[in-house]
Amino acid sequence: MIGADDIPVIPRGVRMQFDRVRDRWVLLAPERTVALDEIGRAILSEIDGARSFGQITARLAATYAAPEDQIAEDSRGFLGTLIDRRFLEVK
């Protein structure tokens, strides 16, 4: 499970792209495409290879004026799924 000090990294071969035909954002990965909702896109957009998970959830809580605990819980679930599928790494 991703911890507050872990730094999530989007590895080579995984990228966000706007799907202009379907008018939505997607995460493209080896032989897989994941449709992103606004929240998923917001979380992934915060990942820059330098910010820790804790810093990311604090920023999202400030941006969306939402409780940080709730943001952390939702983000942990979302990113955990991506880690299990090898679409995301932590350092």
């Binding site: 590895p11 080579r12 071969g13 995984v14 990228r15 792209q17 799907d19 035909v21 379907r22 997607v26 493209l28 080896p30 032989e31 495409t33 880690i83 299990d84 599928r85 090898r86």
Partner: protein
């Protein structure tokens, strides 16, 4: 019926290949080099595909690296905005060419595995020294940092190597392995007696995959195509006919799946003659088995009809002579019991196989 745009396109750049695997997915009638689409036509097809909604492009063959313009094709695919995957045996790739593909923006490589040692791999692939070359290529892929999927095609003669294949994927740093039991179309159908796994092998493979998935969670993703002759339900072939993906053959024919030409009476369009968008939405072959209206019983009233769409049309054609029939690997097919008995008989067959021919 509403038709969604396709997500994926398989571009079969060529049928030429240095290997001669007996389960080759190319048609038995191979396309000659002089009939292959040129660079500019492929680049146009990639742009049309992206405009149509394709996000994932698989550059395949034959062996796609036999195309001298492969680097240019990767550039064209990336310029079109496509996530670009190279499906290769590795034979013909040098470290220099891999670096050029890296600079061109290639996103991902899928490397095929014919066996886990030289003795097996070179016998199945029919190419002496092929395994050693593949191991070099795997090392260069790792050094450059390409994301890697290992693709192991398994059959009766190499299924015992599955645990080692999974280990090799981890050692190579692959994020995924595709464990694909051989599918019996085209060339593979000619060698069915030699390749059909036994029922015990099929069950053992199920168990090995389940154990490895749990043990390697977060390290290696395992995609598994089980032995469907020994299963209860058919595979969801192509994610549903005309719903998700399309294939373009080396000569420009646009196919709903790689074996679709084995279905008599289907009319296919060529990218040289008609826009890809029209072919996808209006082409007769794509509409032939789209949705569920074409289904006879027992599929028509089946609660699984949106799960597996009645299975594989080409398999129904090959096994019961009717492409609209329920895939006989389904327990609801009247031909299912007979097929399972035949599968056991095939699995007891001779081990000699027919190697794929060379494309001219």
């Amino acid at each position: 019926m509403s038709v969604n745009p396709p997500i994926a396109m398989l571009a079969e750049l060529t049928h030429r290949c240095p290997l001669s695997c007996p389960y080759c997915s190319n048609p038995v009638e191979l396309t000659r080099r002089d009939a292959e689409l040129d660079t500019a036509t492929w680049a146009d097809v990639f742009r049309q595909a992206a405009d149509l909604g394709v996000l994932q492009l698989h550059l395949s063959g034959g062996e796609p690296v036999t195309r001298r313009d492969l680097v240019d094709l990767v550039v064209a695919a990336r310029e079109a905005g496509l996530y670009t995957n190279l499906i290769t045996s590795g034979i013909g790739l040098t470290e220099k060419r891999l670096k050029e593909l890296d600079a061109a923006g290639l996103d991902h490589i899928q490397l095929s595995l014919q066996g886990t040692d030289a003795e097996m791999a070179d016998r199945i692939g029919g190419y002496r020294g092929g395994f050693a070359r593949k191991m070099d290529v795997a090392r260069w892929i790792g050094e450059i940092g390409f994301p890697l999927t290992l693709n192991a095609v398994l059959h009766r003669q190499n299924l015992h190597q599955l645990p080692r294949a999974i280990e090799m994927a981890v050692e190579m740093g692959a994020r995924r392995i595709e464990v694909a039991t051989v599918q019996f179309h085209g060339w593979a159908l000619l060698s069915r007696d030699a390749l059909m796994p036994t029922r015990d092998q099929a069950r053992e493979a199920d168990a090995i995959v389940a154990e490895a998935r749990a043990r390697l969670k977060g390290t290696l993703v395992i995609d598994y195509v089980p032995a469907d002759y020994h299963s209860d339900y058919p595979k969801r072939c192509m994610g549903g006919w005309g719903t998700t993906g399309l294939n373009v053959a080396p000569d420009g024919l646009v196919l709903p799946c790689h074996a679709a030409q084995t279905i008599p009476g289907l009319a296919f369009d060529r990218v040289q003659d008609r826009p890809l968008r029209e072919i996808w939405y209006e082409g007769r072959a794509f509409n032939a088995y789209r949705g569920t209206d074409w289904m006879p019983e027992p599929c028509a009233s089946c609660e699984r009809k949106h799960i597996d769409f009645g299975g594989c049309r080409c398999q129904a054609m090959a096994l019961v002579g009717d492409a609209a029939a329920t895939d006989p690997t389904c327990i609801k097919s009247p031909h299912h019991a007979a097929l399972q008995a035949r599968a056991d008989a095939f699995a007891a067959g001779e081990a000699a196989f027919t190697a794929r021919a060379a494309a001219g």
